[in-house]
Amino acid sequence: MKFRAKIVDLACLNHFTRVSNMIAKLAKTCTLRISPEKLNFILSDKLASGGVSMWCELEQENIFSEFQMEGVSVENNAIYLELTSENLSRALKTAQNARALKIKLTNKHFPCLTVSVELLSSSSSSRIVTHDIPIKVIPRRLWKDLQEPSVPDSDVSIYLPALKTMKSVVEKMKNISNQLVIEANLNGELNLKIETELVCVTTHFKDLGNPILPSESVSQSRHPEDMAEVHIDIKKLLQFLAGQQVTPTKAVCNIVSNRIVHFDLLLEDISLQYFIPALS
């Protein structure tokens, strides 16, 4: 197994740093999947037991100027690594003004992902900062659990409002209740509701717009005013929203009534999918 890649463009580096910061907020430990064309950050807690699921994908050639990898075998040309997300974002943070950044898979005392940053020193001599991020190689038999989750046929699909606004609303709601109801309809309306014995609070978002779905069959039979709702753990929603530092290029929310809520974001060229299951 081999992997080595290099970033020389500062804009690409900053973009990659932003993604890794976001991943660090969304998942403490995650899987990094390296394949010839793409890099994926995967979090796959068992959905059945109420865990969230995350799939983040980026095209390697948009970030790296050099990229070489050799997977486990020719037929299975991929590498799956488990790492602590914060380590990667911390390593990248030191590369604010780097001349170049190299990442490679190494084995110094323990298997690690070595991030080597060449900084410009004030006296024009180069300074090199190296980070050895400990990783665990995930054996092939576990790969099946780490595949791209299938996007379910949703009852309602709607564009999200400003994520910062959603976050501040949900943050206040968190103090009142542990559960939140997220509901939306095909009329561009999305509601965030919490209910307790004493109080009921709802925030209404209107005129959001609904994306046109390829299969119109399900939505055609649906009354546009009908809300599809899911009861979810408010902390999971808050964690997702807290991870969003930049305004996405596109943000869609797909709801499968009483089953799952699926957030589909596009941040320039990087796609992020986040699944929060309904509370049982």
Binding site: T94, S121, R127, V129, D132, I133, P134
Partner: protein, 391 residues
């Protein structure tokens, strides 16, 4: 003693106190002919810091009123720091600072003359004490490197703020490296990230050290001096020796001098132990060997007790609680600095909670065995607490 500090120097003093507060809980203030000395040492005696402000630093510097002895005092670091708590405020509002100590007063008086006629007077209670002086001599260290503080500060930026220890060494190609140090963990699944910064020789004003040398010391304690040096824009000199011997950081200026002496970790691998002693825990000053036969009578006890007792006989030295680390200030056979002595208060049992009595007795006993020339100090307390759960 009376001294007056004006203008920007008040902030410099404040910054110095902040750096010292990173090391110890008590500040030893001693007005000397050479200037005002502020010193501290940490609880495990593995770090010592001192600032000496030359008379030129002050607008007025009076060591002692005529007819008075030189006074020395020990103040709670917290109290002294509270005077300079907010450096930004100090910079903006304080015009003059007057520190005075007299034997008639029960307090060390620090008076801040601020803008708009505001005068803040702090009366800090103190204790009389013996002089705190660590035994070290930078010129005896074979290796040194010198760089503007900024170079080292930038290098240290890439480390997580919580990192405790860091290794400084010289790599191939005459590059200076700083690497985060992690203790060997039995639980290999939870390894921490290792960060290393490599700086080219050109960034250093002086570099006299062979390739391959490396010493490990406490980063937290070092950061105190580093931030001071960076704000004062002064070069920092690092004097070091083999692992186990203390590393000495110095700043020199016409107005002030500062020394930070930090213990370094003794290497665990067998080949380097030859440099120090066959027993990894044995303290370095083997000149004290003549006292060892006496100690044999007491070695039926567990080895840790023996080690701790040994350390206290030499009085000034101590070590970190872990047996694997060694001592900082080493008593030199000769001329330079007087062996450190502690004030009587330290012998109280309350200073080292949880120390079982037998150890203390042993150390008191050893105090009397040593030849008088070696022990101006009184009964020395057990300086290291029982390490929790470690051997």
């Amino acid at each position: 003693m009376k001294c007056l500090i004006t203008g920007g120097n008040v902030k410099v003093l404040g910054k110095a106190v902040h750096s010292l507060s990173r090391i110890g809980d008590e500040l030893y203030l001693e007005p000397l002919k050479d200037g005002l000395s502020l010193r501290t040492v940490n609880s495990s005696r593995s770090a010592y810091a001192c600032f000496l402000f030359a008379p030129l630093f002050f607008q007025q510097y009076q060591v002692a009123s005529p007819g008075q002895d030189l006074l020395r005092c020990k103040i709670l670091m917290k109290s002294f720091l509270s005077v300079f708590r907010s450096l930004a405020m100090v910079e903006k509002t304080v015009e003059k600072c007057c520190i005075s100590l007299s034997s008639s007063n029960n307090y060390l008086v620090v008076q801040l003359h601020c803008k708009y006629g505001v005068k803040k007077t702090h009366n800090l209670s103190f204790q009389d004490c013996e002089s705190l002086q660590a035994v070290f001599n930078p010129s005896l260290c074979p290796h040194l490197l010198r760089a503007p503080a900024r170079v080292l500060a930038e290098a240290v930026l890439s480390f997580p703020p919580a990192l405790t220890e860091v290794t400084l060494g010289i790599d191939r190609g005459r590059r200076v490296i700083l690497r985060s140090y992690q203790e060997e963990e039995a639980d290999s699944t939870n390894k921490a990230m290792v960060t290393e910064t490599s700086i080219g020789e050109e960034d250093f004003q002086q570099l006299h050290a062979p390739e391959g040398i490396a010493v490990t010391f406490c980063l937290k304690e070092f950061r105190g001096l580093l931030s001071f040096a960076e704000s004062a824009n002064l070069p920092l000199t690092v004097h070091f020796d083999v692992p186990g011997r203390p590393v000495i950081f110095t700043i020199e200026d016409s107005l002030l001098d500062s020394h930070f002496v930090l213990a370094t970790l003794l290497e665990q691998d067998p080949c380097s132990q030859n440099l120090c002693s066959p027993n990894p825990c044995q303290p370095v000053p083997q000149k004290q060997a003549h006292s060892i036969p006496h100690l044999d009578d007491f070695t039926n006890d567990d080895i840790d007790c023996y080690m701790i007792a040994m350390e206290t006989t030499v009085g000034s030295e101590g070590s970190r609680a872990q047996p694997s680390t060694s001592l900082p200030p080493v008593s030199q056979p000769s001329h330079d600095l007087a062996p450190a002595s502690e004030e009587e208060e330290e012998a109280e049992p309350s200073t080292v909670p949880g120390t079982p009595p037998p150890k203390k007795f042993r150390s008191l006993f050893f105090g009397s065995i040593l030849a008088p020339v070696h022990s101006p100090q009184g009964p020395s307390p057990v300086l290291a607490e029982d390490s929790d759960g470690e051997g």
